[in-house]
Amino acid sequence: MNLSIRARLTASILAVVTLIVAFQVWYFPQVQELAAMEALESKARSVTELVAHQTSTPLDMGYADQAHEVLVGALQDRDLVSLAIYTPPNLVFAAAPADAPPAPEAWPTAVTITAEARGVRVDVPMTTRSGDHGLLIARYSTQVLANQRVESMYQAVLLGAMVLVVGLLLAWLVANSFSQRVSVMAAAIQTVARGKLDVRPVPDAEQDELGDMARALNTMLASLRDIELSVQRLGKGDLSQRVDGVGDLADALNRTIDNQRELVRRLTGTASAIQSVAAEILNASERQAAGAARLASVVEATTNRMDLLHASGERIADSSLAVLDDADQTHADTLVISSRIYQLTAHSERIGEILDAIRDIANKSELLTINAALEGTRAGEAGRGFSLVASQMHRLTEQIVGAIRDIQDLNDDIHGATSGTVHATAEMTARASSTAQAARRIREIIQAQADVTGDVTTGMAPVGGVVRDAVTATHDNVHAARSLQDLSTRLDQLVARFVTADEGER
């Protein structure tokens, strides 16, 4: 690239110089030749007209010698090759040198200049005062002009060569200088491009565009170094800084820092929240694990108890069958007892009626004995025996009445007892019936319960498996929660390594 710039600059300058030299070599001799040609023609016209004027009198007079002298004198001019004066019809009046070419067939009526090979011919018609006509022809050589042209070309080539050499040298030097400065900056930029900012400032003393460029580069390097320092501090977690300077990069970095600060703030909040949540989860998991362990023990105990309960239920079912039989038997017995008690009550009532009749008879007998005794008394001494018997009979009837009263009391007791017993027996019958029904229901319920406890006992086995799985799962949970807590603590420590603006103000 360096070579390329250098070469391009040199080549450009060389091309320009070459063009200039070529133009000079090609153009300036021509211009000079044209100017010289014009000057030659002008000089030829004026010289020829002067010669024509000076020779008009000799021509008029016919003095050829004088004309010849004038012509020879005019030949002092190096450019003038030959002079000849013609008179009609094509006679040579005077010529210098003597070997004059013949006159042309048609004479011009005015001064004409005609270019010839390696020269110019000037024809000047001459009119004498006597009216004689003549024609002066002067021939000029362009040899000097050609020589001058060649010389001038040589000079131009030489000058061009010198200019070319000097220009090339200067171009090389200038291009080299530019190229060196540019290459220094290019090296710095390449180093930066490779990602290294450890670059010395480039020389920027020159007050030109490259100097401006170098200063801008140095400013850019300084800004980049500041940003690198900021990024390094940012990398160490310092979020409290602000990157000085303007520009998209600084703005983007500041925005990044702001975003990271916000992110760290949220992360801090999130980390603490996760920590507290992890603590809660751990606590809950431990409680859950403890609960699961208790549940497992409870389930085991329940399983054992359910087994016992099942066995007991089976025995109770067997016993309830016997209870049901007993209850049925009791019910039948109470029915028998009830019917007997009813019979007894009826008998007792019948006895009461009979006793009433007997008592009535006894009372009447008592009155009879009293009246009999009274009758005996009225009979006097004769009725004494009768009265005696009547008194005895009265005693007997009194005893009978007493006995009847006792019997009646006993019968009343029996009747009261039997009526109470009837009531109790009715209740007993009803209770025996309900007891039998209850025993039947108990039997059914116990059978159903035995079935259910059997099912439950059968179903407790998978429950135990599930609970054991749950215990394992809760242990896993506790482990995971502890890991989560460790992770959250580490996250909190990681987040705490960031220095945010709040902490920076502290």
Binding site: N363, L367, L374, R378, L388, H394, R395
Partner: protein, 135 residues
Amino acid sequence: MSEPVEPPTPTATYLCFSVGRTRLALPAPMVAEVTPRLPLTALPLAPAHLLGVVNLRGRPVTVLDLSALIGLGPSRPTDLYIIATALDMRVALPVKRVHGVEQAPTPPDRPPELARGATLLDLPALLQQALAMLP
């Protein structure tokens, strides 16, 4: 029951009965008979001790309230009537209970010694009193 009758002490026969809780006795010759309770017909405008009349085998018999007459208060309905005769009058006396006929020694100067503290009624005096109380 036969009791030995000693000649030195004359004996008499008595009918013992109870009015309320009071044991009383009448001489047996005064008593015609002992009857069960008879349908009582109350007498209008009669005094309190004259309970009414009963029909004894077609004969009307006056019923006296013995309890009221001897100052024991009005009697309660009873099951037995004693038909007695005094002053040529037949009266019915409602009594609670009749204990029986007994013989008791009867000294001339003292009241008879009746069993279990029975009191001998002076029926003629009571009748006099009742008649005196009639309007």
